[in-house]
């Protein structure tokens, strides 16, 4: 009996967005009298931080500070249409819609500023800190907050913008499968290290280390959070979770978190990553979606690491201690024949 260590790798790509039925998102933006901007959507924040990254994209395009942008979302009476938050699509689709809306609102803002400054619209620029200034003319500047107020009370103008983005519907050829199912692809390569206890069959994950290529990070802390959370979820898929432990037998279904096992803090390994940025051609500021993919590569990386540690090739999930022990027994039985043991058909 021994504790055997091994490492395994997996490399994956993952599509951003979808195509069936078309994949649209819309956004509206308007300035309030106080000079803050409200972005109105119907896309939901699932806890991944959509509101925050959309505020960043809106602020970037408007040329104002992120603290001056508020996200009003998830109401079908006020928010324009959105397909939904899934398919690793929200930052990409909503972000593109928000850029379009913010460009229109920014134009309205600069038109008013041009009148107030008695300057040409084309000579104006924003500094990203809440000021509009005349290019090459130090001292000639005005605050966005002042323009927003003047627009409403002096000029009788609205500072607002509409934005939409849509990937058109693309039918699938039923004979060949030819299709255009996504907008871009993000990438990941994960290296997992495990320790397998050959007496108990328990697999301990030592570390999950990954490189990700995500186009553009709008918010690196949130990207890191997705990668760490996804690695945990992938590890949980690989070693712990199922609603149907004896599938296809439908019995013994867990009913709560005391029966449906997931790794706790004690089992959670070192999780770390490096992130590359190769901007996509069609995402907002080059974004690619990574919402879903972060659970993917950890699973085969862990399973490949178990093989590296033990010589037991696992073909099914989750990899329970029982499965590992049966694999080790099969390996001993087949040792003289030199056949690679497999859990398939066991």
């Amino acid at each position: 009996m021994a504790k055997l260590r091994g490492t395994g790798i997996a490399a994956v790509n993952y599509p951003t967005g979808m195509n069936l039925g078309g994949d649209p998102s819309q956004a509206l933006i308007h300035a309030t009298t106080s000079g803050s901007f409200v972005v109105t959507l119907s896309a939901t924040d699932l806890g991944q931080g959509l509101r925050t990254v959309i505020a960043q994209i809106a602020a970037e395009t408007l040329g104002v500070g992120v603290d001056d942008v508020f996200i009003d979302t998830a109401d079908t009476d006020t928010g324009p249409h959105d397909m939904g938050t899934f398919a690793s699509r929200a930052t990409h689709r909503v972000g593109n819609a928000v850029i379009a809306a913010a460009k229109e609102a920014r134009e309205a803002l600069l038109e008013v500023a041009a009148e107030e400054l008695e300057a040409s619209r084309d000579d104006l620029e924003t500094d990203g800190l809440g000021n509009i200034r005349v290019r090459g003319a130090p001292g000639r500047s005005v605050k966005v907050t002042d323009i927003a107020s003047l627009a409403q009370f002096t000029y009788g103008r609205t500072i607002s913008g509409r934005g939409a983005w849509m990937k058109p519907r693309s039918a699938v050829d039923p004979e060949t499968g030819a299709m255009d199912p996504d907008s871009t692809e993000a990438h990941a390569c994960t290296v997992a290290e495990v320790e397998v206890d050959t007496e108990t069959g328990v697999v301990t994950v030592i570390s999950i280390k990954s490189a990700y290529e995500v186009g553009r990070q709008v918010n690196p802390a949130l990207v890191h959070g997705q990668i760490v959370g996804g690695a945990w979820m992938g590890m949980s898929h690989a070693l712990y979770e199922t609603t149907t432990p004896y599938y296809p037998d439908p019995g013994h279904r867990p009913k709560d978190f005391s029966e449906y096992l997931m790794p706790g803090a004690h089992e959670t390994p070192e999780i770390d990553c490096v992130v590359l940025e190769y901007p996509s051609s069609n995402g907002p500021y080059g974004v690619k979606g990574i919402g879903e993919m972060t659970a993917n590569s950890p699973i085969p990386a862990i399973v490949n690491a178990i093989y590296h540690a033990t010589g037991v090739r696992i073909d099914e999930l989750p990899v329970t201690p029982e499965l590992v022990l049966r694999g080790l027994e099969a390996k001993e039985r087949h040792a003289s024949g030199g056949v690679t043991p497999s859990t398939a058909g066991d």
């Binding site: 806890g47 960043q56 186009g215 802390a221 199922t242 009913k255 993917n296």
Partner: protein, 446 residues
Amino acid sequence: MTADLHVVGRSVPRSDGVGHVTGRTLFTTDRSFPGMLHLKVVRSPVHHALVRGIDLSEAERVPGFVRALTHVDVPHNVYTILGLIGVEPEEEFVLAEDRVRYKGEPIVAIVAETEAAALEAVACVRLDLEELPAVFDVEEALRPGAPIVTHWGNNTFMYEGHPCRRVRFGDVEAAFARADHIVEGVYNTKPIEHAPTETTACIAVPEANGRYAVYTNTQALYFSLDNTAIILQVPGSRLHFIGGTVGGAFGGKVDVIVEPLATLAAMKTGRPVKYAFARWEEMQVSSTRSAWRIYVKDGVMRDGRIVARKVTSYADSGAYSRQTPYALTKHAANAAGPYAIPNVSIDAYCVYTNHVPSSAMRGFGITMASFAIEVQMDRIAEAVGLDPWSVRFLNAYRNGDMKPHRKRAEDATLIETMQAAAAFVGHELTPEQAAMTSDPRREGGE
């Protein structure tokens, strides 16, 4: 470009973070309304049965009972979530009619003054069921004589005349014939639960103007609104859906399960109605990730190059397909993996069984393809005597390559990502691997 950016690329604190960690974020069921009723569901206790009778007499005598809803109360009782984008046929029953197809299928909805009264009345409903043979394995479900789950006579979803989503690229059989090695694997995965912290829930509130405000933790407000309008046969303009922060979803809140019944109950009673899954319902009755069985057969040359890949996949959709037909399409587009393979054949089957329906989940159709393909890559490496890194560098797709679904690769960076991972963990690459790029032109053409 990065140098010009002010806010994009900065780790600004998330705007809702303080609310989350101090418990002040408002979730759907944190709301309460005067006169709010509670809805609970009578569910099938068996996997497959004919419904012979429903006796509500005892339930109706429970103090606090307000009313029961059965399929006759649902204006358009048979629906398909993806019907909005043209997927056919309509197949799932909001409330069961003459047959139940999975353990936990809703048969009767009980509306009561309190949650306790609703649960007591649910327990008092007597069902007369005649159990039928059930099928639980994807390949058994496709054999002649298997119990039929659907109402159209076989257990597969049909893709424009085919029983599976197909990809055909090159000639796999010819390539297998000239390959030095044939490497085969069979990969099985079990269903899993999304396990969100916040269970699926909504509250439907009648408004004085004849409209209904529906507070919901759906991932897709308009998708849920439009499906609810179809099921209740009302104009979408009479519905007002309000979401907010969702307490975890992972694909589990794309199904439209609670909103139609809660809104129907609000219409029938004129009072706000709350329908929230208990934890056991989230675990045992809400959609799962599909179980998968994936057969992979690869033709490989002596140097490790993959010349043909044939994938036959079966996703267990359970009793109703929900989002699974689309998952198979997405699977088919990605099941060859991020590799340049000149001959690919994929058959991806959406199979009906008597399991709880599966549906969308994070990695939709791809997570389990990645598991199968990436374990298979290590099998190939072993067969030809390469290390796991080398077999992947050798076969990595690059910009300009035609993918099996006939879309040319544009944003490929698999090679750069593997190089970064190798550097991150201290794995030494060969000089050739270290010099590779995903853009063949940068290497002087090919």
